[in-house]
Amino acid sequence: MGLDRRAFLGLVAGGTVGAMFTPIPWKLIDDASIWTQNWPWIPRVPKGQVDYVATTSKLCPAGEGLKIMRVAGNPILAGGNPSHPLSCGGVSALARSEVYMLYSPARIKSPMKRNGKTFAPITWEQALVEMAEKLGAAKGAVASISGDNTGTINEVLTALTAKLGSAGSFMMPSEATTAAKAMKLMGAQGQAGYDFENADTVLVLGADIFETWGTSSRNRKAFGANRPAGAKPANSYVYVGPTRNNTAAVCDQWVPAAAADLGVVALGIAWHLLKAGATSNAPGFDTFKAVVNGGFGPEDVKRATGVAPETLAAIAKALASAKAPLVVTGSPFGQGLGAAPVIAGMSLNMLLGRINKPGGVYMLPELPSVVPGALTRAAMLDGDLPAFLKGVESGKTPAPKALLIYDANPAYGLPEAATMAKALEKIPFKVSFSSFMDETAALCDLVLPNSLPLERYDDVATPYGSGFCVYSLVRPIQKPICDTKTTGDVLLGLARKLSIDLKFDNFQQVIKEKVASLAKVSGGFVAKDVMPWQVAAGKPAPALVGGDLWKALEAGYAWTMVGQAAQTSMGFAAEVLAKAVKAGKPATATVLAPYAQLRTGTPVTGMPCQDLTTVPDTELLGDTTFIRVNSETAKALGLKKGQMIKLSGAGVDCQAKVHIFESVMPGMVSAPLGFGHTAFDYYSQGKGANYLSLAAVVEEAGSGLSMWIAPEVKIA
């Protein structure tokens, strides 16, 4: 049978028209919307049972309690835990990253051993053997560095280091190390804790309390709680520092003063308080008075710092007339401050009678330690890592034969990077327990990846700045995604291999014991219906039902205690002040005023990948970071908006673009920290410069502490 042309065309036409009356073409065409939404390369969202579990952020130094949303058992989102006292529902950009950092491209996927310039994966057993051998040989000269200020892991690490023959157990320098040094010099017991919740007038000397300093999320909740939107605030905050940083942006007043002058400003305020009759029984008061009256009158302070006499007088008056004034001192960039400014700030609290008072400073006792032979936190904070490494570099201190590095990235996160790198080079055997391929891990001989906080047991005990003792649990809510282990377990395994008895077999036991010991501390309670600041303000503390503590902690509640270490001889340390605080001439050189933000991560985390979006283009544009100067400084230095410049200091050069920002003091170059990684992944690597590397370390007169609060830089 033939099909002529007409019939063929007819068939085609008829068929087409006919098909139009069936749903097929319409269905197909309509499905286009679904295909175009569901290309195979577009990830599908997971499905399954949704539940919420609680833990605590360990990546974020602010120690927020977290509520983790899970789908089919996998963590999906980290939100603030409203019933946790350090979160109250809030969460920093960094703590929010806990979940997706599980899949950070920078994660170290298995133990690795250096092989020339590269690394080769090894098994955990091989790693343990290797480490046991090398550490056995290094006995007597093993040092350790921890970047974890709050974990019981430090007990395991320091006990092991001690048993191996310690060449020093160090904490990465931070606000906590500086404050501990100051408290020691003042003869104080305990860790300074600041009761923002009950304070009504707060003088902030330098500390970036609403961004990086201490328990920043909790600080902000405390600040906001007494400031109902659109109404007259029930508290007042004054910020003193070189830039109007994130903290100053919401304070009622910003008093520009160089970070190097914070002590001078404090003593200048003390002058007013003393003049108004403030007095104290604390040791050293008379010397203190003489020091203050001898060189910190309003005109001295004005000459040295530029702060107007009436500004100072007004602050002093506000503090003296407040019901619950509080002075908090810290570094605008979270490190490098000398002990003296902290002492000077604390002196104000003493003159105002604010020690161990609601809304004042609580000298918080250390929680009981459980690992025999471990260093106390105070002892650990007493070490001076930059000084130690500088000594190693110059040959003054013998280089340790082995170095254990836990949760720390000294190759990136220390000042005077060039010196520190040389010092690290001199240490023949280095082990990093980092979770991410950071700058330090890249230098080490063994890299033994720690499981991330969502994959391990860990804890957070009273982060620096907290106004109360607090303990919360970090617990595994997800099996390790890569071939990683909890470092605590690795260290205990190593101890066993070396026949060292650390009392525990695994790290979970350590934590359990720690919790059991807390149950015995009198005055401790689980913060649920009653929060610690309410107890400080007079509400009775609920009783602790001992057996339930672990369960309560697992449920995301925190153990807290409002308490104070007994003080025997807390004094003014006036001799230190006399040597270290000088109302001299203002600096003429260009001074670096770094600032840090949680959204750029910590030296340990690198830039959390989702947070890159939150960094404004006045901080990072393409691969270049900006420094900030005000127009007066720009003019004096001949700098133009957007100009590319080179900053030099401590033998290091850094590139930067110029951003004109008026809220920087004249003569200051404000620079963001957290950039310029050479390691990690494409979210961190090569993004801008690490301006911390420009900071030269100097020794503080009177205390001997390493400091780098006001580094000079050259601009070309």
């Binding site: 969202v45 989102l77 950009a93 109007r244």
Partner: protein
């Protein structure tokens, strides 16, 4: 003024206390992960980066030491008279539902970007490339929001899925889903802001805090004189901040 104002018995609104915002960016990070926005490698190109929530830095333009700054977080303003809705040729975005949330229906959007042009708040983001998560990270995607392919426009939805969840929870608890308790439905950014700078609720519901807040003498809205009638309110005790919310002639 074109367009027309739409009224609903429930009007979800956000009140942002600028005087409390420290500019930390936690709200932005919260939003990104809540709503499956991929981590962007080139995020420092702000003209291309997707950030449903964006924190602007405001300045009073004075020199040191009289300079002042403020941070202004900007979600979708959920305009009562949305400039973006009437322009969409395919009704991929609409304001048709109680609550007044301006919807964005990704499978419907053809990606013409007319709405992007029409929105003066720079709230709308186009998918320039297909979204890519680092390997494995797609396991952390939220099931509450669909992943968008490239070529469509997306924006803040006031975390609409949370409203659905809140209504479901209310039904289960035998409560009225159309009369939720204050706080039963809050968005991710509001919930996680460590400063408590953000408040959320039904502006028309006297039991909700925002109902009073929007009446504050310090409250203002962005570009009010254009008639967009937004559902996001800002509060600042600083006059210069309030003045930056709109354009004013010298004589005003």
């Amino acid at each position: 003024m074109s367009g027309h104002k739409m009224e609903f018995p429930i009007t979800w609104g956000m009140v942002i206390d600028i005087d409390k915002c420290t500019g930390c960016g936690a709200c932005m990070a919260s939003c990104q992960t809540e709503n499956n926005v991929e981590p962007q490698r080139e995020a420092s190109n702000k003209l291309r980066a997707t950030s449903w929530m964006l924190v602007y830095e405001l300045t009073n333009d004075k020199a040191f030491p009289n300079h002042d700054i403020a941070y202004l977080p900007r979600p979708c303003q959920q305009c009562g008279n949305p400039p973006c809705v009437s322009v969409c040729p395919v009704i991929a975005t609409d304001k048709n539902e109680n609550g007044g949330i301006v919807s964005q229906v990704y499978p419907r959007c053809i990606g013409c970007r007319y709405c992007v042009a029409a929105c003066p708040y720079h709230v709308r983001y186009f998918g320039w490339y297909d979204p890519i998560w680092p390997e494995g990270m797609e396991k952390t995607l939220s099931p509450m929001t669909s992943v968008r392919p490239r070529g469509v426009v997306e924006k803040c939805t006031f975390c609409h899925h949370r409203w659905t969840q809140a209504k479901d929870a209310a039904r289960v608890a035998g409560k009225d889903p159309d009369n939720l308790d204050d706080g039963a439905y809050v968005t991710s950014c509001v919930q996680n802001c460590p400063s408590g700078a953000l408040a959320f609720g039904d502006i028309k519901n006297p039991k909700h805090k925002v109902h009073e807040l929007v009446k504050s003498p310090y409250a203002f809205r962005l570009l009010e004189r254009l008639g967009t009638d937004t559902q996001v309110y800002y509060i600042s005790r600083r006059e210069w901040v309030r003045k930056l919310g709109d354009n004013y002639l010298k004589s005003e």
